[in-house]
Symmetry: C2
Subunit: 504 residues, 2 copies
């Protein structure tokens, strides 16, 4: 018999044994008539003194739960309530319960999952997550300690449901610098940008409603839509971003409640749209009266080139809801994202959040605010940008050197994602099996399409691989791709000089 | 003109001014022809050197964004893209965007809100939240520091979507001690029990589905149901807990997808049901095939009497999903709750959580696990139980002394909630206005009913008021109640001797 004991806790072992057995007797798991394990054996099982067990057995007898006879052992008497009998009578009814799940739960469970394997040696291009070796752990630990020391009591209460005021104020300042006008009260802090986009979706969409998405698009957004019972409707991305004529046509057909878009360092393609593209997008959505959910998940991750103002900064009608996150620039474990929207939208997101998780954790929000105030965040961003630039350059060089003829790839100015399109013969889901065997994993294009279509594209995320690993990983990947091509063809290397090119 | 400057940051002020103005010019918020504020005035506005502003203006001119003439000032040129013109043409389309919200958002926004006021001097009986003066802040800060120092890098990554393994393991041990069998993999950590109950609801219910609730019940649960589009169907609570005959009848009519129940220290009544009541409840729900959501939000808050095993410990069919939280026993700001369910249910809750917020924050989970392992949590619980017992006793004594004739109140063995029922003449929403004026606030009964009915009951939560404040608050409240009663009647005091009594 195994009784879990907390040896470092302060509850006496004797008490723990009594409580455990009492509860199991009361719950009927040890029914009347059960013989308890002999004292000497239980003491040995648990590695405790025999007298401790004997004491516990005596206590159970005092409680009227057991009966002992010398030389016979200790037997369960059952409970006084007589409920044993009634549950005996009810026994024929006791079929194991088979849960009937909601349609939303079934749809979410049915989402395809890719097996990326777990080989530690593999070069991992599949996670759009920053590199833990770059985390400023010590500085952040000090920030945590600082905020808990000065004002911990208030931070550990619920606090403002919108989240820590200092962090909201800081975000407003930083957003002002990119041309976004906001008030701290118009900011709602969330558990990462995933929760932010789920909340904004819930603000505008009931189950069955349609959301227009760029295609390819962030697979996580489609998971959120499935969980919320919302239908994604795809409009393709071209070389310069969302196909605006197709968008105009689609919105003209009506029924779309929201447009979900990532104008900067788009996931998975890495594309950043121009100022003109953004203005035209807003003109189209304003004309059709469709709100825009702008996911600027990789803000602060530009490594070269001039920033383009976010849609939210160009918004003159109040139609854009802006979401962002610290998950890519700092670390995902703090789970801090945000929503910036017009008052009515931010207000609705807030009540929905309160109703379904009350609030996010304030202490870490306060720690991040302090971390930013000390300048540590900007120092960290500069350090990361330098490393990201090195990795993006290394990826581009390796792809250029090793990709088969007829391939292309994007050259983003920041973020983690490089979108690689191989010759049309190659299905990147099939290729993944070979690549995994050879020691490299990536995200196949199919997962970024709402219909999971066959795709010769793939996403390399350079967040978690160092420059040398990138070189090695790309070479391995390209070798695997060459091996899949018709023999004789494609052994020549060197392709992909075409800058941003997306095949959809 | 106000340009928000980060003075402690490392970005030069000159660069911040250039960036701010450039973005405002590019976004069209400073349209072509705008005269920029004279150098000397802007320097004075911002409290910076004139030369800094002059440098910034020169840079803008170099970028082709402005033009200066000696003695005339600096004017915005607009952007090169020509988009200004196109947005001019589109101007007639620029109506302010009026958001059309989802039905769920509208329903959640429409939930009634009580104004409890914010007077610092008032005795606050309305928040079912622990007392910040009891928070073990220093020990928790040390736990945070410890876990970030040893393994911070891993904690700041996403980690296991179910939450920190050490904390799940610890919960399993603690739950075993109350007779619940679980595996760490069957536990999903959530953002408090509010998220836990929202997730379990989503596992079983699509919008429009019905959930059976006890009435009165936790108002927050009804907010979650509203946000999820789920219909609460009320079955009354009697003196000894949920009316089981009414439950049997209601489930017999079909259509209910879930029963939501709080068998221990029920919110708002404080009632704890007996072992026999629990067994019969499970027999009924098993017979009808309806899963049970057991909210054991105040586990670990018993101050006297013998614990009764949770429904989950008595569950022989796998129909009970158990949720709990550290919000009441430790502090709400950590936002840690949990779901313990059969594999398929826990699995569905997990995918729904992943799809809509990816994961909860792991560092605080790790800190709580460490805090528990050191024995600090159990020490804290003992300290809190002693204080709670004192408060509950003080509340009972004061109610006994001051309540008008014909009143009653419950005497819970733990938790925060005391349910007080005043003479039927009194509407506790009306009384609240008087009470607030006199310096005491509480939760009127109406908010705990799905139909918001008139109620002469109210909930006193003694979580945040010290013993002396409780005495004073109860006296003030009773005076206000006396004043509302027909003159002559009710001035005699001393009532409520009847132990647990609930009028519904």
């Amino acid at each position: 018999m195994i009784i879990p004991l907390e040896r470092r806790g302060s509850r006496p072992v004797f008490r723990q044994i009594v409580d455990y057995l009492r509860r199991n007797i009361e719950s009927g798991r040890l029914p009347a008539g059960t013989k308890l394990r002999p004292i000497r054996l239980l003491a040995s099982d648990l590695g405790v003194n025999r007298e401790t067990v004997a004491d516990a057995y005596r206590e159970l007898e005092t409680l009227g739960l057991t009966q002992s006879g010398v030389g016979r052992g200790t037997f369960v008497l059952g409970t006084a309530s007589g409920a044993e009998t009634s549950s005996e009578t009810a026994a024929p009814e006791l079929r194991p319960f088979v849960p009937v799940l909601s349609r939303a739960a079934e749809a979410t469970l049915a989402l395809p999952a890719i097996d990326y394997g777990t080989e530690a040696q593999a070069v991992r291009f599949e996670r759009a997550v920053p590199d833990p070796s770059l985390y400023p752990v010590d500085e952040f630990r000090k920030a945590c300690s600082h905020v808990l020391r000065h004002g911990g009591r208030a931070l550990l209460d619920y606090g403002d449901p919108r989240g820590h005021e200092g962090l909201r104020r800081l975000l407003v300042e930083r957003l002002t610098a990119v041309g976004i006008e906001a008030e701290p009260d118009g900011v709602v802090l969330t558990a990462g940008s995933t929760q932010a986009l789920a909340l904004v979706t819930r603000v505008f969409c009931d189950p069955g409603d349609a959301v227009v998405v760029e295609e390819p698009t962030y697979a996580g957004a489609c998971a959120a839509f499935a969980a919320l019972g919302v239908r994604p409707v795809a409009v393709p991305i071209r070389r310069d971003g969302l196909d605006l004529d197709a968008l105009d046509t689609r919105l003209g057909r009506g029924g779309a409640r929201l447009l979900y878009t990532m104008p900067s360092f788009h996931n998975p393609t890495g594309i950043t749209t121009t100022l003109e593209h953004r203005r035209r997008l807003l003109e189209i959505t304003a004309r059709h009266g469709v709100p825009v959910l702008e996911d600027d998940f990789e803000k602060d991750m530009r490594v070269r080139g001039r920033p383009v103002p976010p849609l939210k900064a160009l918004d003159r009608t109040g139609q854009v809801v802006y979401v962002g996150t610290f998950s890519k620039t700092l670390f995902p474990g703090v789970r801090i994202g945000w929503i910036v929207g017009p008052p009515r939208v931010a207000g609705a997101a807030l009540v929905l959040k309160r109703a379904t998780d009350l609030a996010s954790s304030v202490p870490l929000q306060a720690a991040v605010a302090h971390f930013c105030h000390t300048g540590a965040y900007d120092r960290h961003l500069r350090r990361v940008a330098k490393e990201l630039a090195r990795r993006l350059d290394r990826a581009a060089a390796a792809l250029e050197a090793h990709l088969p003829d007829g391939s292309s790839f994007t050259r983003p100015d920041g973020g983690f994602a490089v979108w690689v399109t191989l010759p049309a013969d190659i299905d990147t889901v099939t290729l993944l099996t070979e690549a995994k065997r050879a020691g490299v994993v990536y995200s196949p294009g199919a997962i970024f399409y709402t219909d999971g279509r066959r795709s010769s594209s793939l996403r390399l995320s350079i967040g978690q691989a160092g420059a040398d690993d990138i070189e090695r990983g790309v070479r391995t990947l390209c070798d695997a791709a060459h091996a899949l091509l018709p023999s004789g063809g494609g052994r020549e290397r060197g392709a992909g000089r075409a800058a941003p090119a997306v095949h959809v």
